[in-house]
């Protein structure tokens, strides 16, 4: 390298990238391509697959069950984003600071974010067990409420699985907000004090504008997680009852892996994939425009 450094310098980034590129290519890019190709076929298990062109995609667009799942997904994404974001923001305001007890609490409430989804789902099934003796129902009982059906009630099930995602994401988003809060110029609060702003006004005119980047990160992460949500739902309600918690990924899983219709599952997957990638690109573009001007 030192003999003719200039001539070989271009290879350096590629040498560093090489291991990653090998792994990504073999275990991600190639499967993605294969999957994409599959979506144009009716996949047979023994013998040659049957080329069906765009039929799988057409079917997806007219599949009403998938449409219902897509609607549930949207509800899921927006509710988890809004509720999770706002609650995490509130928790961040409460737990901002460097005092020891606050740091300990922050560490402790992070547990849900570092626990297996499989375990979390189990926790949820236990907590929201619909019997009167269920944990949450017992607590509700203290306030005189009737036992609720929770995940057994088609009207509540989606709400309960949304709550799971919110619960799991609050600590994570909270840390991002706390970082954002630490980045806000203290003098702005002083300036607002001198200007005569009330605490609410300070929140609105200083804190929230200062947290715009944090909100942007939180929303983006929540969107990505929301659109591809699977395990959280599959292991709690399995999409039921009466399809009330069916989302795109559980629907894909059922057609692909339970009914073994791989071509169709691949086609729907790629539509979802394209959508999320598009969403990310749009987000990055918007963010860049904002930070440039």
């Amino acid at each position: 390298m030192s003999i003719e450094p200039k001539r070989w310098r271009w290879t350096i980034p590629w040498l560093f990238l090489a291991p990653a590129l090998i792994f990504f290519t073999w275990f991600k890019f190639v499967p993605i391509l294969k999957g994409l190709i599959m979506s144009f076929y009716q996949v047979k298990f023994i013998g040659a697959d049957r080329w069906v062109g765009l039929a799988n995609f057409e079917r997806a667009l007219t599949d009403s069950a998938l449409g219902a799942a897509a609607l549930n997904t949207l509800i899921y994404v927006f509710s988890t984003t809004i509720a999770g974001g706002l609650l995490a923001f509130a928790v961040a305001l409460i737990l901002e600071g460097q005092a020891l007890h606050i740091r300990i609490i922050r560490t402790a409430i992070f547990f849900p974010a570092v626990t297996s989804v499989a375990v979390l789902a189990e926790v949820w099934r236990i907590l929201f067990y619909p019997a009167q003796t269920g944990v949450v129902n017992s607590i509700l009982g203290l306030f005189g409420a009737d036992p609720q059906g929770f995940m057994s009630d088609p009207n509540q099930a989606l709400f309960v699985v949304i709550l799971l995602q919110v619960w799991k994401n609050i600590p994570y988003s909270m840390v991002i907000f706390i970082a954002g809060l630490a980045g806000i110029n203290r003098e702005l609060y002083d300036a607002a004090d001198v200007d005569g702003a009330s605490p609410l006004r300070k929140l609105w005119h200083v804190t929230i504008p200062g947290l715009v980047p944090a909100f942007s990160v939180v929303i983006m992460l929540s969107f990505i997680r929301g659109f591809r949500v699977f395990t959280e739902i599959y292991t709690t309600t399995g999409g039921g009852p009466a399809g009330s918690t069916e989302v795109i990924m559980t629907s894909i899983f059922k057609t692909g892996f339970e009914r073994l219709d791989y071509g169709y599952a691949a086609a729907v997957s790629f539509m979802l994939f394209t959508f999320t990638v598009g969403l990310t690109v749009a987000h990055v573009a918007i963010k860049n425009r904002f930070s440039r001007t």
């Binding site: 980034p13 590629w14 560093f16 890019f29 599959m38 402790a108 003796t133 990505i224 395990t231």
Partner: protein, 279 residues
């Protein structure tokens, strides 16, 4: 401006509420796993009732949780190290080098972050069966099959890239003037400076590998290679298992994650925080 006693009390109540909501369930699970009393579905004990290790002993000897725990730990240890190393190397190139194609590579890697794993499981299964190019061996049904597909992970590449971008150029230049070559710059200057980010990616990488259900399903046939989540799932469909034993296995599945988190949490918080502000 001074906090009054009622205010303090209110704060304390809010803290308690947060702790109950976010940690309470874990406590309940722990208490139940150590209780002799059989719980009904939907019940947790607040305090261990007739404390006992029986459920763990059963999980250990009968369910043979230790085999799966060992597998999980082995896979997660090697996997996390490989993943972090490979990601850090790639991040170095993406963050600190200008080269043709950088934007394209970034985009390609980023896009895999959006991809649900389920989507590529069939093609991945086929690939695991194929012989690796050049090496001519198939890794199917081996530890390698549980590890290698997880080594490339966009999230850690990107987090580390963001961090490495923030390392002042002066430091790299200083090292260059001091006579360091690329490897030395990477190891001695960049890596020590992105330790917090490494902490963060290690925890999330750990969790991600630990949590794998689909990969073991398609990568191995041999029961002796199963990992904890697979066993957890097959225990859940096992209708004969006692609830407490199942909860005990759940505890076994959770403890390593929490331990790793607590060990790395200082780095982790800093990493998450500074990474986040840059967004």
């Amino acid at each position: 401006m001074k906090t009054t006693f009622p205010q303090k009390l209110a704060r304390g109540a809010v803290y308690a509420l947060l702790l109950i909501v976010f940690c309470g369930p874990f406590w309940g699970i722990l208490a139940t796993a150590f209780s002799k009393t059989t719980v009904q579905p939907g019940q947790l004990l607040i305090w261990p009732d007739q404390p006992t290790f029986d459920h763990f002993i059963y999980a250990w000897t009968e369910v043979k949780a230790w085999i799966y725990l060992f597998n999980s730990l082995l896979v997660v240890a090697i996997g996390t190290v490989l993943q972090t190393t490979v990601s850090a190397l790639a991040a170095y190139a993406l963050a600190r080098k200008k080269f043709r194609g950088a934007a394209f590579i970034s985009l390609a890697i980023l896009s895999t972050m959006m991809l649900p794993d389920e989507v590529i499981s069939i093609p991945l299964y086929l690939i695991l069966h194929q012989k690796l190019p050049l090496l001519g061996v198939s890794i199917y049904n081996s530890y390698a099959a549980l590890i290698l597909p997880l080594v490339g992970w966009a999230f850690s590449v990107f987090l580390l890239t963001e961090f490495m971008k923030a390392v002042p150029r002066d430091l790299e230049d200083a090292a260059r003037v001091d006579g360091a070559n690329e490897i030395q710059i990477f190891l001695k200057v960049i890596v020590p400076l992105v330790k917090p980010a490494l902490g963060t990616t290690t925890i999330f990488g750990f969790l991600m590998i630990w949590d794998q259900y689909l990969l073991p399903l398609i990568a191995v046939d041999d029961r002796s290679l199963y990992t904890i989540p697979v066993v957890l799932r097959s225990l859940r469909v096992d209708e004969i298992m006692q609830q407490n034993i199942f909860i005990a296995v759940t505890v076994i599945a959770t403890v390593p994650c929490i331990v790793v988190y607590l060990l790395l949490q200082k780095q982790f918080n800093r990493g998450l925080m500074s990474g986040a502000v840059k967004g």
